[in-house]
């Protein structure tokens, strides 16, 4: 599967794709996209890296990565953020917005360029969802890659 073309392209593109994925996750409350979309972009960057490497290297690199626990932690974090709302309000209430905590800056009224330090629980939920999605999609790609195993394409 691995060719020089893929390797060269990956060298240039992989870091850009990963950064772009992280950007979409972090700016989920400001720009189009969010946790799921960013996580998918991030996972596609990882998929590119997986495809560009040999079997053994991929196996060695991913041996220690806790993909499945990461998925659980992402989901639990999402649930925990939603449960914060039970402190006096309701489930999913955005308690962090305008509270001065991280991502809890005061949201200005009117036309503005959008500030990263706003959004409250939304930003946290995007990060957790992004974590879950990138772990899940990466493990799917990884399983397919390792199942195909030694079978190479013709060229």
């Amino acid at each position: 599967m691995t060719t020089t073309i893929i390797k060269t392209t990956t060298r240039i593109l992989a870091s850009l794709i990963l950064v772009f994925g992280a950007y979409i996750i972090l700016h989920g409350h400001l720009t189009p996209g969010g946790g799921f979309q960013g996580g998918a972009v991030f996972a596609s960057g990882l998929a590119l890296l997986i495809v560009a490497c040999e079997d053994e290297i991929v196996k060695k690199r991913f041996e220690k990565v806790p993909l499945s626990p990461l998925e659980s932690i992402g989901a639990l974090g999402f649930l925990g953020t939603a449960l914060l709302g039970l402190m006096g309000y309701t489930f999913f209430k955005n308690v962090i917005a305008n509270s001065g905590f991280i991502f809890g800056g005061k949201t200005p009224i009117g036309i503005n360029p959008g500030y990263l330090n706003t959004g409250g629980t939304l930003a946290y939920m995007n990060i957790f969802v992004g974590m879950k999605v990138l772990a899940g999609l990466t493990s799917i790609v990884l399983i397919f890659f390792l199942l195909l195993g030694g079978k190479k394409d013709e060229w």
Partner: protein
């Protein structure tokens, strides 16, 4: 904390589902953990039912300052996701949590030897979340989301024994059916959203005036939910799915099927309930669909040799009774005299039959799972003489078989009798079909009993012992429920069923979020 019950009903099983995969190394603990979560959820659903019965409809607005703040800051339309729980929803949630608990208890021994159990229990809890969400929500899009959750978790569980080719096939089939059904649901939700710009069911039902687009939406919703509950022309997935799924999941999967039936009722009675001229026709369609379902299901069951497959065809056939009962009620919904004469009782029969059927069919499928556990086969011709070896399973089977055939004093009799009486008043032919179906059911269960449990003991089953204690406990609990529901049907009807029926009939209550607006 009581006002947060609806949110906790979702949050706690979800928490369980996400923590279970972390227990990968100790699968035994994962099983016990899942059992604890299902017990807690069952307790919560009992509390919820009590709240609903004493205070009426409960509304929970997600993300608002107060749980009951449906229209914040002077809005005229609801903007947030709203859970709206009436007696019908609480009743379904109670069945879902009870059956998840029974399923988890039974699974503890039944799938002990398999691998990947942490995923099994995570999926079981996710399936429970999907059902609970479907029956509690008051928002159409939310209904779709939970339908998908239940569908995906269910299909993964159907294909759990993936070393068997048939299980993978059944899993794919279930996945196909549920994704086609939920796509059609999504499409019709899109139509309604385009028409009225809102997704809240209570709000929509006040706005709907049934033009062509609404009719298309109604048709699509009706067909797709009928497909997911296994009504006859779309029943092909039921035998495969119920046969291949591990017996511990059968109870929950049954409730998942009837959650779609609940959605069908909700669409017919609440979402489109305000359209007066049309619903009688839909009621007739539902009744005739019910009769066809029960008759075709039972005739196909008669020829089966695989014990679980036979019971799955009976599950199709029993769904017909519920459709018939509620269909009769829907036909006379706008005729107060007939409604009080027999319509209300017919609906009670249909809804009572849901919980009765869930109980005895889970019991029967679990005895079939026990037979499979000890003999390693599901072919009736290869079994025989097991009654001496497995006394508890035999007793459980007798109770279940008597209940499904509608013999007094078991619970099947109570609900079937209500359905016979009332459908006779709408059209005698309906009742005739219902009774013939019952007789055929009895015949086919006599066959199962004779070939699996009676007869001389076979040499190859010399070493067979009774199944482990958790499985026996799960079966005995359900058998006792069968007898109790049959002996005291009035208590159940008055406490559980008639409130649910009234919740469906009283549209104005639902439309105003229980009098909040």
């Amino acid at each position: 904390m009581m006002e947060h019950l609806p949110a906790l009903m979702i949050a706690i099983p979800l928490f369980g589902a996400f923590t279970t995969p972390l227990l990968k190394k100790r699968q035994n603990i994962a099983a016990i953990w899942a059992l604890i979560i299902t017990v807690i959820t069952f307790g919560l659903s009992l509390l919820l039912l009590q709240e609903v019965l004493s205070k009426g409809i409960i509304v929970y607005v997600f993300g608002a300052n107060k749980p009951t703040l449906v229209l914040p800051s002077g809005y005229r339309v609801p903007v947030r996701i709203i859970f709206e729980i009436d007696a019908m929803g609480a009743f379904m949630a109670l069945s879902a949590t009870l059956m998840s608990f029974i399923g988890a208890l039974y699974s503890y021994s039944h799938v002990e030897m398999e691998t990947g159990l942490e995923k099994y229990y995570a999926l079981l809890l996710l399936l429970e979340v999907g059902i609970i969400g479907m029956v509690l929500t008051g928002d159409l899009f939310n209904l779709f989301v939970f339908l998908e959750v239940a569908g995906i978790a269910g299909s993964a569980l159907v294909g759990f024994r993936n070393y068997r080719g048939e299980a993978s096939e059944a899993g794919i089939k279930y996945l196909m059916v549920s994704s086609v059904a939920s796509l059609m649901v999504l499409f019709s939700i899109g139509l309604l959203y385009g028409q009225y710009g809102n997704l809240n069911m209570a709000y929509l039902s006040r706005q709907i005036h049934l033009d062509t687009v609404d009719m298309i939406a109604l048709g699509l919703l009706f067909v797709s939910f009928a497909m997911k509950c296994g009504a006859v022309p779309m029943h092909y997935w039921v035998p495969d799915a119920y046969t291949e799924v591990p017996a511990g999941i059968n109870p929950t999967l049954l409730v998942a099927t009837y959650a779609s039936l609940y959605a069908l009722f909700r669409v017919s009675f609440s979402l489109f309930g305000a359209i007066t001229w049309n619903m009688a026709r839909v009621g007739w369609i539902m009744s005739i669909l019910g009769v066809l379902t029960m008759f075709i299901g039972v005739t196909m069951a008669l020829v089966q040799k695989d014990v679980k497959r036979l019971m799955s065809y009976h599950a199709i056939s029993q769904t017909g009774y519920m459709l018939l009962g509620v269909g009769v009620g829907l036909t006379v919904l706008n005729d107060p005299a007939k409604l009080s004469a027999f319509g209300r009782a017919a609906m009670a029969g249909g809804i009572f039959h849901i919980i009765n059927h869930i109980i005895y069919k889970s019991l029967l499928l679990m005895t079939a799972g026990a037979l499979f556990y000890v003999t390693g086969t599901r072919n009736l011709n290869e079994m025989g003489g097991l009654a001496r070896k497995m006394p508890y399973t035999t007793i459980a089977f007798i109770v279940g078989a008597a209940a499904i055939s509608g013999l007094p004093p078991f619970n099947g009799f109570a609900s079937k009798f209500l359905i016979y009486e009332t459908s006779y008043q709408l059209n005698p032919l309906l009742a005739v079909f219902a009774m013939v179906t019952s007789v055929l059911t009895l015949a086919s269960f006599v066959k199962v009993f004779a070939s699996a449990f009676l007869g001389p003991p076979l040499e190859k089953y010399e070493e067979v012992r009774e199944v482990p204690k958790p499985m026996v406990t799960a079966m005995i609990i359900l058998a006792i429920l069968c007898i109790l529901f049959g002996l005291f049907p009035n208590v159940v009807l008055n406490k559980l069923i008639y409130p649910a029926v009234d919740a469906l009939i009283k549209l104005a209550q639902y439309q105003s979020w229980g009098g909040l607006v």
